[in-house]
């Protein structure tokens, strides 16, 4: 119950942060990615603000084995840079640049009742399903 509530609260705060920062607006995100046009550096400030807070939180988290609520810390263990990481991220960036949506803002815009955001989220879930199918095929091979 605590775990579920903390998850809900974290998601809610995340969404509010996206709305405050302006990043729930794809046109603003594209303004950042359009470095050859009129460039809007705002997204860099969003990441900067998030990372300043995150640096402290993760430095603190790294020294703990249990969270404040008593759950195991699930910090990613691997640090291997491989082909999957790079190719996947390159594909993600291309999709991001096409519409100005990454997963978080897509969900916030869906919550705001934007029909096109619903299409984006459904397509994104379909893309994730394609990944799972490819992984299953790979496991069988």
């Amino acid at each position: 119950m605590k775990y579920t509530l903390a998850s809900f609260a974290s998601g809610l705060i995340f969404g509010i942060g996206l709305l405050v920062s302006g990043m729930s607006n794809p046109e603003k995100v594209l303004g950042f990615l359009d470095i050859a046009g009129l460039w809007d550096p705002s997204l860099a400030f969003v990441m900067g603000g998030a990372i300043v807070v995150g640096l402290f939180a993760f430095a603190f988290a790294r020294r703990r084995t249990l969270s404040f609520l008593g759950y195991h810390m699930k910090l990613p263990a691997g640090d291997r840079v491989d082909k999957r990481l790079v190719i996947g991220s390159l594909l993600f960036g291309a999709g991001w640049g096409l519409a100005g949506f990454c997963p978080g803002p897509g969900l916030v815009a869906l919550g705001a009742g934007e029909a096109k955001a619903a299409v984006f989220v459904i397509s994104m879930i379909a893309g994730m399903a394609v990944f799972e199918l490819l992984e299953k095929a790979r496991a069988r091979a």
Partner: protein
Amino acid sequence: MIDIAWDNFTPWSALFGGMIIGISAAAFILLNGRIAGISGILGGLLTPRKTDILWRVAFLAGIIGAPAIWLLAADLPAIEINASLPMIILAGLLVGVGTRYGSGCTSGHGVCGLSRLSPRSLVATLAFMATGFITVYLIRHVAGV
């Protein structure tokens, strides 16, 4: 030379909103011991394990519900989606496949990973930023859409 869009540039709300996002990531790691990576939280629902469903749905309900909570206090900020429907569908498919292969998106790699000083996340962030810049360049300045 880079021309800054001074009329659209919102450094303070960007910084402040970013800090709120950082607080969310901090709360999630410090309370639940987990990385606030949206693509991973959503993608994990496609191969669900029993103990794993509720917290994922709760997190996603929070983020999707944020505009409704916001509306209790103020009007929603503008959301301008100018891409055509076929572009949106292609974008969604690429974001879905790409974030799962790359094990993360702007939140998991860009915010949490860089905060952890993870070399893996730095590579991922540089990679998706690079194709993001290139794609927008091609669309706006080569194809001229």
